[in-house]
Symmetry: C2
C-alpha cells in the first residue's frame, strides 16, 4: 500500500501502452472516479490527451478544478474498473460501492487509489472541443511495488488483455529513447 | 496471407488497446512505412488520432495524399517494426530492407502488409498542429486469420508486451457497447 515516487518523465511508460485507467477527481465536496481507455501521449514532456467530454459526470470537475489523478489498475481490479465505468458519480459514491481506497495525493486534491500499481498526479491544461480531447500534464508519478504491474488493455468490445510476453528492444531503438527512459 | 474484410466499426478494437502500428503511405512514387505507438480513438465513428508531425518523413505523404493504411504487426514482426521506426523512408526502401510484403489495398493507394494480422484502410481528415495530431477515418478493415492476432504494446522505454491473459466483461458493460461490437 506504500506508493514510491519516480521521475515524472516515466509517466509516458504508463500511458503509451494503451492502459485501462481510473481517473479520479475532487469537485470540492466528493471524490469521484471514472474509467477511461482512450488516452494518448502527445510529446515527451509528460503531456497526454484523454478523449472525454461533457457527457461524463467527471468532466465538470476536470475542467473546473483542472486537476485529476490517472491511476493504473492491476488485472485483479479490472472487473471493478469496468463496473466503475457503468455507473455515474452523479448517482453513487463509487469509492465505497466499489471498495476503492482513497489515498491523499501530493500535487493535487484528487486522490490516489491504493489498489492501483501506479498513479499520475496531473493538471488539466487544455481542452479541444472539436474532438473532445482533454490535455493533461503529469507533475508527479508514484508506483506501488506491492501491486501487480501488468497493464490491462481494453479491446473495446467488452474483452480485455493483460500484458503477456515481454520483448526488450532497447538496443535497437537506443537513438530514439529520450533521456531517463 | 489472405485478408478477410470485416465491418469498419471493428476498427476501434484494433486501436483502443494501444497497439504498435505500421502506417503505410504511397507518395505517388514509393511505398513507405513508419512505426507509431501514439494513437487514440476519438469517437465510435471510426475516427482516430495519430500523434505525429512534420519531423516524420511519412508526414508529407500523409497530408498530401490524405491516405494511409494502419497495420497491426504480430509479436513475430515486432523487432522489424521497431527497426522500421529507426530509419527514415527518405533514405531507404523499408519494404525490401525489412522484408515486408506489400499487398494492394482497395480503398486507398497505400498498401497492406501481408505479414500483419489486421490492416485499416484510412483517409486523413484533419490535422491539429497545436499538438501535432493527425485525424484519420477508417473506411475498410481486413484481418488475416493465419497471423497471430496478439497485439503488441510499447512501454515507451524500449520494452514491449504482447497481449497475455484475456478477460471478458461483456455482460458488465453491455449497456456501454455500441451496436456491432
Amino acid at each position: 500500500m506504500a506508493f514510491r515516487e519516480i521521475e515524472p518523465q516515466k509517466a509516458l511508460t504508463f500511458i503509451e501502452p494503451g492502459p485501462v485507467v481510473l481517473v479520479t477527481t475532487f469537485d470540492g465536496k466528493k471524490h469521484n472516479v471514472m474509467t477511461l481507455t482512450w488516452t494518448c501521449p502527445v510529446n515527451f514532456d509528460n503531456d497526454f490527451i484523454l478523449a472525454t467530454g461533457p457527457w461524463n459526470h467527471s468532466f465538470r470537475a476536470l475542467t473546473e478544478t483542472k486537476e485529476c489523478v490517472v491511476c493504473i489498475p492491476p488485472p485483479s481490479l479490472l472487473r471493478r474498473a469496468v463496473l466503475a465505468g457503468t455507473v455515474s458519480g452523479k448517482d453513487a459514491d463509487k469509492f465505497s460501492s466499489l471498495g476503492f481506497t482513497a489515498v491523499g495525493a501530493k500535487a493535487v486534491k484528487a486522490c490516489l487509489i491504493a489498489e492501483c500499481s501506479a498513479c499520475l498526479e496531473c493538471t488539466v491544461t487544455d481542452y479541444l472541443p472539436e474532438y473532445s480531447l482533454l490535455v493533461i500534464h503529469c507533475n508527479r508519478v508514484v508506483v506501488n511495488d506491492d501491486v501487480d504491474a501488468r497493464i490491462c488493455h481494453a479491446v473495446g468490445d467488452g474483452t480485455f488483455f493483460a500484458d503477456g510476453e515481454k520483448f526488450v528492444y532497447r538496443d535497437e531503438m537506443k537513438d530514439k529513447l529520450p533521456p531517463g527512459l
